[in-house]
Amino acid sequence: MDTPSATKTFRKIRLQPYLLLLPAFLCLTTFTYWPMLQVFLASLTNKKRVGDDGSFVGAENYLTIFTEADFLGALWNNAFYAAGTVIPSVLLGFLFALALRETTNLSAILRSALFFPTLVPLVGAAAIFIFVFMPDIGLLDYYLAKLGLSATNWLGNPDLALVSLMALTTWKNAGYYMLFFLAGLQGVPQDAEEAAKIEGANWLQRLYFVIVPMLGPTFAFVVVIALISAVSQVDHVIVMTEGGPNNATNLLLYYIYQQAHEFYDLGKATAATVVTLAALLTLSFLSLRTMERKVHYET
């Protein structure tokens, strides 16, 4: 069967997928991998500003940031911020979706209301929340005062400022994650649930044994995008606190921005970027892996 035409077809088939992948590969290389490599190389130099050549210093920038209170503080703040936004916003999104699963007129209105914060740009939301959190005259304190609580300097107290930002993020993201869970719930087969019902499983049991495992891929996806957003969103820090009071809300991205553009230390900024990227990759990988084990994929 070794005719020339067969060989030709064979070659064609082998080449075609690579040709199809080429545009994506070129795009990724030019706009993702190449810049990442550049960032890594810059992190090994003592570059001060863009346009400054700098000289090779090896791992010095990494040693510096890992002994520096500001970077370690930002790292810790971001870890705390991630835990405190991912868990509540994903859980809330899931609960909203469960509660509003059935489509009625009311649920459509409630869904829109819960989704609404997603449509507000983060900068706008932050600008509004400055006034919500304003001590004494803000909306929050206005209602708390009715409960007999005294005025609180939400954004000006180092113990509360980051928690306040976390509240804003949760408020903004929960509705967005609800959408994914609503879509996921559509995919839970009715017969599986009905079978469980006939077996006498109560609501909680059905939730735990049927719905949650079926939603595994959705959970895995939502947790990963929530993690990424916890590290990549910085607008509210810039608008509301500028990393203060005394660095209490200084998150990794803001730290990087300040080092690169305000304090003229591109070497340190790029080293922090590499660390952030590595942490994100590891976290995404781990959460996908652990969740995938519990995932039931439709075949």
Partner: protein, 429 residues
């Protein structure tokens, strides 16, 4: 990206064909106080463009002072240096050190810069100079100033605005109501404002704050700065007449307007904002003194980035000299509340009429006799942040002592300044 540049090029083409051979330059400006200012600035740009046909200025609003520095630097690094930027007055020094902006003599042509600078108030000149050259032309300038609610003063039986720190504390105690129902005094402690006010208190305490001749030295661990840190923190923790924690300038002005704060310290640049929003009898006074009357200059000056063509430089100068003319600078001062840095602006009839009607506009000008330059060092923002972090910590944590805070601020600032100090003052030939 391609689409945007294509549209940009098309627009540019259309404009260029309608206005024959006008030199287009970008003018980046911040508006730290309120949105109204950026609209008025765009109006001024339009007026300039209409007044002549050689230059076309494109106004670009760039946010806060710090953001303006970042954005204009980014533009310069991307190979599109902005020809005119309204820059925080204290950043010119480090921009000149980093070789990013050009001395004004490269723009000024036949203009006698020395004679021109003589027309500006002596207090604003040091920030405009670096290494003996003029690097910026002052445009909108300010000093911190004390705003107070006269009705609250009458109610508390206080006759006059406080002139000394002792009187200030005394007045704040009389004005405050318990449990934060009303604060005696509020001052913004967010970044940027914070460092400016620590400097103001340090100067009023007889201190220097930084070395205005050599930009590699800072005096955070000196008695005068320590006293300033202690004095500010005591308002919150010891006298309990100021809220604890960090309060930003929006909170301060809002509290003043709603009667929740009887005295506030803000920039004189907020004067017209206060004039419009205070629905009660208010007045402004000098910053009280401990050792001497003294305040730092604030506000912004016009600078020009390196790398522009000769034609752009010429165009930039025609805009700068138009904008800083006594007439325009006076108009801007009346509109905003900033004082006019050009003394001759106060000789014009509109200005004479305005200050007669609004004597509060003169307070900052009177205070100028006691004003000094604004902190300008190598890597100013990082050096400034070292003391701002500690001041914020002091306002939040009643256990922290001013001595520890001052020592830490000094240590962190010295770390930032070290590379420059080693290259200059510490280098052995």
């Amino acid at each position: 990206m391609f689409f945007r540049s294509a549209v940009g090029a098309l627009c540019a083409g259309l404009i260029a064909s309608s206005a024959v051979a006008a030199e287009r330059i970008e003018f980046m400006f911040p508006a730290p106080v309120q949105g109204k200012l950026s609209r008025e600035m765009q109006k001024l740009v339009k007026e300039f463009n209409a007044s002549q046909s050689d230059v076309e200025v494109v106004g670009v609003f760039t946010g806060s002072y710090d953001e303006t520095k970042v954005k204009s630097q980014a533009a310069a690094e991307a190979g599109k240096p902005p020809a005119v930027v309204l820059m925080s007055a204290n950043f010119a020094t480090e921009l000149a050190m980093n070789d990013l902006i050009v001395p004004m003599e490269q723009l000024a042509g036949d203009t006698d810069l020395g004679a021109m600078m003589e027309e500006f108030w002596p207090a604003v000149r040091p920030n405009a100079h670096f290494a003996g050259k003029v690097y910026s032309i002052p445009f909108q300038n300010s000093t911190p100033i004390l705003y107070y609610n006269k009705e609250h003063f009458k109610e508390a039986g206080i006759e006059m605005a406080p002139e000394t720190w002792a009187e200030w504390v005394d007045a704040a105690k009389k004005l405050a109501k318990p449990d934060g129902e009303r604060w005696g005094i509020m001052m913004p402690s967010n970044y940027d404002y914070n460092g400016w006010l620590v400097q103001a208190l340090t100067m009023a305490n007889g201190g220097q704050f930084y070395n205005p001749v050599y930009p590699g030295e800072i005096y955070y661990d000196h008695a005068s700065t320590q006293g300033a840190l202690k004095f500010w923190r005591d308002f919150a923790h010891q006298h309990k007449v100021m809220p604890t924690g960090v309060t930003d300038s929006k909170q301060v002005s809002t509290a003043f307007f709603s009667g929740k704060a009887s005295m506030i310290v803000l920039s004189t640049g907020a004067l017209s904002f206060v004039r419009e929003n205070a629905k009660f009898d208010y007045d402004v006074a000098f910053m009280p003194r401990n050792i001497r009357n003294s305040v730092p200059i604030g506000g912004a000056s016009l600078v020009s980035f390196k790398g522009t063509s000769d034609a752009q430089k010429k165009a930039a100068w025609s805009f700068i000299s138009w904008l800083t003319s006594a007439e325009k600078i006076g108009h801007w001062s009346r509109f905003t509340g900033y004082f006019a840095p050009r003394q001759t602006a106060y000789d014009l009839p509109e200005m004479k009429k305005f200050v007669a009607e609004n004597p509060d506009a003169l307070r900052a000008v009177e205070q100028l006799a006691y004003a000094g330059p604004w902190i300008a060092t190598y890597n100013t923002v990082a050096v400034r942040k070292a003391v701002e972090d500690e001041m914020q910590a002091l306002l939040s944590d009643p256990e922290l002592t001013y001595r520890t805070a001052a020592a830490r601020a000094q240590e962190n600032a010295d770390k930032v300044l070290a590379p420059y100090a080693e290259q200059t003052a510490l280098s052995l030939q």
